[in-house]
Amino acid sequence: MFLAIREIKKEKLRYGLILTVVVLISYLIFILSALALGLATANTAAVDSWQSKSFVMTKDANGNAGQSLLTTKQVDQLSDDKTAKLGITPVNMKIGGKRESAQFVGMNNEEYIAKNLQLTKGNLPKAANEVVLADSVDKDIYGMGDKISIGLSHTKYKIVGYAKNATYNTAPVIYGELAQWRIIKGVSDQFQGSVVASKTSQSVDDKALKTYSYQAFINKLPGYTPQKATFGLMIGFLIVISLIVITIFLYILTVQKLPNLAVLRAQGIPNLFLAQNTLFETFFIMATGIVVGALLSALTEFGIPDSVPMAFDWGLMGLIAVGLMVTGLLGAIIPIRVISKIDPVSVIGG
């Protein structure tokens, strides 16, 4: 620690540069994690709010609720007091000259999903032409009491409330009556919904149907899994890059100091003391870089526009910080090995 602190103090430019690189890497990792989490949340927030353990839909839909059509018979077979029928379809909602992509979710007010819905304002739809919108929509455009057009329906729907955590596959959700789903989607009345959600695990005998667990349902959301994998890879690569950067930097610094370190070894300064200094130096660089990166990320959270889906989970950030720190300390292994191999004889005579 003694040597590390003084070296950092004396070589401000050198350490300032490497610190800048570590700050930028950790900042990038935090921002990417927040974006990944934000996008994941925008994909799954509505599904999470339904608090369901399993979902049944047609096998041919391949896990895409918007493609599933359940017949009255199928729905009746599955329904009990722990299930909720949902009609999900991607739509355009229109008001004035504005159009926006959304997901219509038809539900029954007597079933658990509607009962569990957390409204930030207003009430559940009580009439066929009433809807509740995601509270993330621009309320200057979609104001309380305003009327909107949805999908293929000719009905004008009145906004009677806003729901919390109401995004599905990154689009805002429009909650309405289940019967309206058929009209909006333009399907015949032999179909009763697209998904039967349940608070418990469901098993189905009908070979045309398939049960998805909560996680399987989420993973089947269009684009969700590749998006998650892409972000995971980017974050992984950045962590590896930080490992390489810190290793190269410490290695070069150590090689530059070899004659001085050899003299110190000749003078009897223990190997362990020199290794501990390198380890502390690494810890200092990584800890400072991570803290500054996290502070910059927190500042970014305030400045970022609402249209960018970012979510900061400080628990996750903490885990990433620990990962970065461990990676940085691993980067000190090679320089420490170089120090342990120094031959003090090399500085004597010629």
Binding site: F2, L3, R6, E7, K9, K10, E11, P259, N260, A262, V263, L264, R265, A266, Q267, G268, I269, P270, N271, F273, P344, V345, V347, I348, G349, G350
Partner: protein, 226 residues
């Protein structure tokens, strides 16, 4: 009779094997006593530096033994050899003696970090830095000092652990004649006043007048003594 501090007995050092075998030192026996300055002179490649590294426990002899304060140190572990060097031997080398990012004062504090006890007292420390004329350089970095000033700080640093033996490798290589006389006199004073054994490996004949013994090494053999 003066106390023997460091001694080599029939020391041979060989490098390589079979046809590549090189004998750097051959059957060298020497003893260095407290209160004496000993010069080891000889041409380049004669084995002087090898001798110094063996005396300092940085290398072990192929044959023979090395005694430090009466204890055989020929076959110590790296850790034990480090400890002996730190506690009993002060090294002054030709270059790179000082850590570039430590002030002169910190060069001594570094020693306190690894050897908190039995270093020079505060009075002893100020006496030595005044003798060396470096008392006004304590807040300077090595890069701000001349070659001569750096070497004087290195000498003070070697004395700071209050070692029984000082081993110096070409300590006057970077100094002008006036400074060589100062440094030579300093080594002599410390050896005589503090009862230290000072061993200097050098090409520099200007140090002869300050020495008590001169040993010449040629082709790895002790050729003659003055």
């Amino acid at each position: 009779m003066r106390e023997e501090k460091l001694a080599l007995e029939h020391v041979t050092k060989q490098f390589g094997q079979k046809t590549n075998l090189v004998t750097a030192l051959e059957d060298v026996s020497l003893a260095f006593k407290a209160g004496e300055v000993s010069l080891i002179i000889g041409p380049s490649g004669s084995g002087k530096s090898t001798l110094l590294t063996i005396l300092g426990g940085l290398q072990t002899p192929t044959y023979g033994s090395v005694r430090l304060n009466g204890h055989d140190i020929s076959d110590l572990s790296t850790k034990e050899a480090e400890k002996r060097r730190l506690e009993q031997i002060g090294f002054v080398l030709q270059a790179y003696n000082l850590v570039p990012y430590l002030t002169v004062a910190d060069q001594f504090k570094l020693v306190d970090q690894v050897k908190p006890n039995n270093n020079l007292s505060q009075d002893g420390f100020y006496k030595i830095i005044e003798t060396l004329g470096i008392q006004n350089l304590l807040n300077k970095y090595p890069g701000e000092l001349s070659g001569g000033q750096q070497q004087r700080v290195a000498i003070a640093r070697a004395f700071y652990t209050d070692p029984a033996i000082i081993l110096a490798d070409e300590p006057t290589a970077a100094l002008d004649t006036a400074r060589v006389k100062e440094v030579g006199q300093l080594f002599a004073n410390i050896a005589h006043d503090e009862e230290k054994a000072v061993v200097i490996v050098t090409h520099d004949d200007r140090l002869r007048e300050f020495s008590d013994n001169v040993y010449k090494i040629v082709d790895g053999k002790l050729s003659n003594t003055d």
